[in-house]
Subunit: 371 residues, 4 copies
């Protein structure tokens, strides 16, 4: 818990957004795995700031330097540590950052938690910048999954009230997901992009921000991964998704809509096709009883609007004990949804690696059926 | 993972719905804690079948026998094991249960996972009956929280399309939660009960089932509990909530609705009241940056409709390799939402105990500020 | 930690020696594993009291009732819970047990830890009786290992100053280990038994007790199991061995004696035999760098003398605050070493299962070398 | 497991001895803790090579750069990452390092484990150099313990067959431990130093190496820390000690010698002194039933002789499949025992932090005794 995730695909993240560097340690990459650093760089770039007009003007290269666990291009099997320099740090008026609490941010909760000792610069360890290590790990996880024929991808399901089409939960396929991963503004209906961008621009013009929904899918996941109860696919995936600052709701399959259905609608009928069991629908998002059923895993995550807005907001000054207003200045994304797409993919990819490894452990000592 | 949760308030569950007994081991109850077995029995009864016309006619006393960890009415501090006898087991045609997959159930995923070895009777370890240990643990967790002035309670937010009023996320209080916990059909607007029951009755009459939404709150939670990233309040709570079979979506605060808001709406403004920081609204559900902010923790969980329905459904026979239809007979709830209320409360209560204990561990070795 | 071990072969133990029952939950047995209950009973009997003149006269059947996780003779893959009834409980003068601290026992440390709330009857959760669940789990672990050609066995290396021969660390083989497991007083040199028994009888006659050393080996363990640092074979095995009350020292290979050797003596030379690497000696006990090297894993555990002795000993009365003497009456083993043999075997067998499962998890997502 | 230790004082280590850097992440330092970097540097220097004629001539500054978790001289409470540059790397004939297995090293076991992908330079992740992160963490742990009046220190109990006096297990005190920590060659009887150094010099002259024993103590540890079974003090400490390459035996209190005692000798009698319970002896090393009893915690760890020796040794060439001889050239310590002293102290200090934090978690939700 806290800074580490997983018991198999073990991820530890560290850093503050305006400290010397942020980074991560991944323990559990199979020895000999060829690491495609170019693919990692592409995934990092999708999350990095400054690459899109919707996002903050602040540029960070987010180049990862691997300091351990890699030898001659392959994972050694020992802990892999990567560092990302903070090239864009700020040396401002820390005292004010500690005094005036930004609404919607972790400032106040964090001050209480860390008793005023947390690094206040740029949100410190709470910064969305700490999702960069997640994307690094997720990119490696996606590479491992690809070897097993599993593909993960996501699109912007909505920005404010402008929606993309949803995934076809039965037919979504790897080429579609690959196409989405190649885009900085991934949509199933690319013609929705202008309306979404207009929505973001309007928020920016109003010194405000907007949120959205990201829909993510994994295809090629074999049936039988995950466990009932505490190791359910939904439990493991949601633990990671809710680690992402700004995610406030997570839904699998038809999610909240299932609550209004009858059983006869919500149950996915089963059929035989070419000697395999298939499902005629996928209201359960590829997971029943916490275990994958061979259908695409489909989920949605709600991203709240960026709390950093230039509009004056009512808040408190912890030093003076007075009420005050605060306009968060600086370079902030009016909408982080596009940049959050690879983060959501990463959460799903990491969780699937963890679950597949768990399944393998369980079966390691399996005997023959006749013994 | 799998059968165990937590590193502080450590819960292990075991059992099959039609085996000899189900039960749980809780490790981490402070020594000397007086265990209120009557309160546990009341919570168990709210989840137990057969106590309400909306639920299955199958009656199980769900009486817990504590076999360790309790001495002269107080927790010893060592692992507490409780057993719940399965008084209502079935000895039917197992072969058929293994062959015909019930749509919407874990039958198929479980057969793949456990390679046909899982106990097929009544869903085995996948049964909703395994939520009884969660309620037992949750009831103890609620008792521990009550000592700290923290109250947890939930209500039926909706059944199908009939909705109760939502919690006032700022003003919800302990007496309201206590009143809800005393009810078998807890509603903020009790006059919605007839419409909800009618909705359930209609589903039953149609040999079908309905789902719903449960809204849960905790009040009195101090600010500063939880962690950024993998130990976020949302991560820990959601891991437990998604352990509950039938939960397919989890939302904190305004949840999915936040995705359509602007930052200026979603950010909760802060004020001083009597020397304390308070929030003017609670769109974030009492959690920012993964850490409690002192406001009520508010969440919703979507419960899918009971998959066991008497209507014939299309499915497969794994033995014969043929398509077939299946009408699930027996005593099944047309709506499990009322019985799931204490399960959702339990998930939140257990998570809060875990998080408060984690926070205490972190501060155990704190020195004076002057050193 | 505390009542649970492992992240793959997950064991939770519970119970007090004079409560209703003790037991354990094992999570991680591969589905379909045929459980040999007769073999378990044999292992349990080796640990159970009352079966040998060296041991306590108190008889406990230590029959395990499996209440979950088993169906038609095979593990379901879900948590397996077994219960062992306490048939021989005592209802004595608890107040005195709480007041007068038995020297060498956990009484005083436990009273401080549990603030006087621990079950004082018969040592409560601290009782050596709680090693019965370890033996149950160890017996299952041994069955899983046997499927992989791995055998575990142990012998009494010494009782007080009477020593058995040590294992041949290079040549110890499975038939030897099987022969040892079939004995209640396992020795490599059976003619040492009379001297050892005489030693125990002398201690009993003196109202005293004696300790000893148990040497344990595993053969057939493939090279490459374990990890450097925190997951080293020695780390995982020793965590389990030091869980056993009475174990105060653990040594691998030549252990303490290695500290007096030169490198040229301690290093195990390597050779080729039939296309395989073999070692000419085994001073390292089959483990280098925390990882198995294919040689027999060999370790020793020191068992302190039973603290419960009938001789009067100087102690304190916590109630009266006075010094006093205490003669521990009742049926106590003058030497628990023979009964501890299957406990030590179990610790090694459980650890090996955990480590092999961990290794399998690490390699689950391995790609081809060419990708 | 593997690269991470602990659930409270959480330590992750990474790196290869000849990669870019090694380092560690510590999660669980209380926010606001003032970090004494000078004290850390002193502890690091005791372990660092090149500072003593007994040790390797290879010099590494082992200066730690803290890249996160520290702000204005105090721990923020978020993960603290420190990096140690490898200033002394080698770019030799890797192919030969992969082919010829060094006896006594992890080379062969590691090749099997990591399938030939581990970084072969200087032992890679297996290098004793990876104990530097342990010392860094241990130094911080010692600082945290000092705030609670707990002191940890160790001395060279023996080198080969030259022994120092043992600790007085009852009377060892903080000033003695502080004096030992100030020495590069810590002894209770400083006049043994010449004989020990002569022993080391003789081994070096013979192109050989020697081992030894380190005895470590902690004083001021309150009674009641630790747990029965899997969380015993011995279990947690030994897990860390056996993580240290070269440690092959661990003993608490009188250790192996207890196996030859009678109960009446081994049991530590209790007395009242000034209203407190004290023990007249400390054969149990301050731990009974896995829990501290208020006496000094005393343990010994056996360090095997450095496997890298300049004498030709018989080994195999994995590439050619032939037997060969190998003389390990380069700068190697003929005796690592002096440098291992702070590593053993660190293992104990880290374990005590973990256990004290665990204890605090358990009591976090304790109610009043009257409720």
């Amino acid at each position: 818990m806290r800074g580490s995730f997983g018991r198999h695909f073990k991820l530890t993240i560290f850093g503050e957004s305006h400290g010397g560097a942020i980074g991560m340690v991944i323990d559990g990459i199979p020895p000999g795995t060829r690491i495609d650093e170019a693919a990692i760089a592409r995934d990092m770039a999708r999350r990095a700031p400054g690459n899109d007009p919707t996002a903050t003007a602040r540029k960070e290269a987010d180049r990862v330097t691997i300091v351990s666990g890699l030898f001659e291009g392959r994972a050694t099997g020992t802990p892999l540590c990567g560092m990302i320099a903070n090239t864009n740090t700020r040396s401002g008026d820390y005292a004010q950052l500690r005094a005036k609490m930004r609404p919607g941010h972790a400032d106040y909760a964090g001050q209480v938690k860390y008793e005023g000792c947390n690094d206040p610069r740029g949100g410190g360890h709470f910064s969305g910048r700490l999702t960069a290590p997640l994307v690094f790990a997720g990119s490696i996880a996606s590479q491992l999954l690809a070897q097993r024929g599993i593909a993960v991808g996501a699109h912007i399901a909505s920005v404010a009230d402008v929606a993309d089409a949803p995934f076809d939960p039965v037919g979504v396929d790897a080429p579609t997901l690959a196409r989405l991963r190649a885009s900085r503004f991934p949509l199933l209906l690319p013609d929705r992009e202008p309306a979404m961008r207009a929505c973001i621009d309007a928020a920016r013009a109003a010194l405000d921000s907007v949120g959205g929904v990201i829909e993510c899918a994994a295809v090629g996941v074999p049936a039988g991964i995950g466990s009932p109860f505490f190791g359910s696919v939904e439990s493991v995936v949601s633990q990671l998704l809710f680690s992402v600052p700004a995610v406030k709701a997570v839904a699998f399959g038809d999610g909240m809509a299932l609550s209004a259905m009858r059983g006869s609608e919500a149950n996915d009928a089963m059929r035989w096709r070419d000697g395999r069991v298939v499902f005629a629908s996928n209201h359960n998002g590829g997971v029943t009883g916490g275990i994958t059923n061979g259908m695409p895993v489909v989920l949605r995550a709600a991203i709240k609007p960026t709390p950093s807005i230039a509009r004056p907001q009512q808040t408190v000054d912890l030093q003076s004990g007075e009420e005050t207003t605060l306009a968060v200045t600086g370079r902030h994304d009016p909408c982080i949804v596009p940049r959050a797409v690879p983060v959501v993919e990463s959460a799903l990819a990491i969780a699937l690696c963890e679950l597949i490894m768990d399944d393998a452990a369980t079966k390691a000592l399996k005997g023959g059926r006749d013994e």
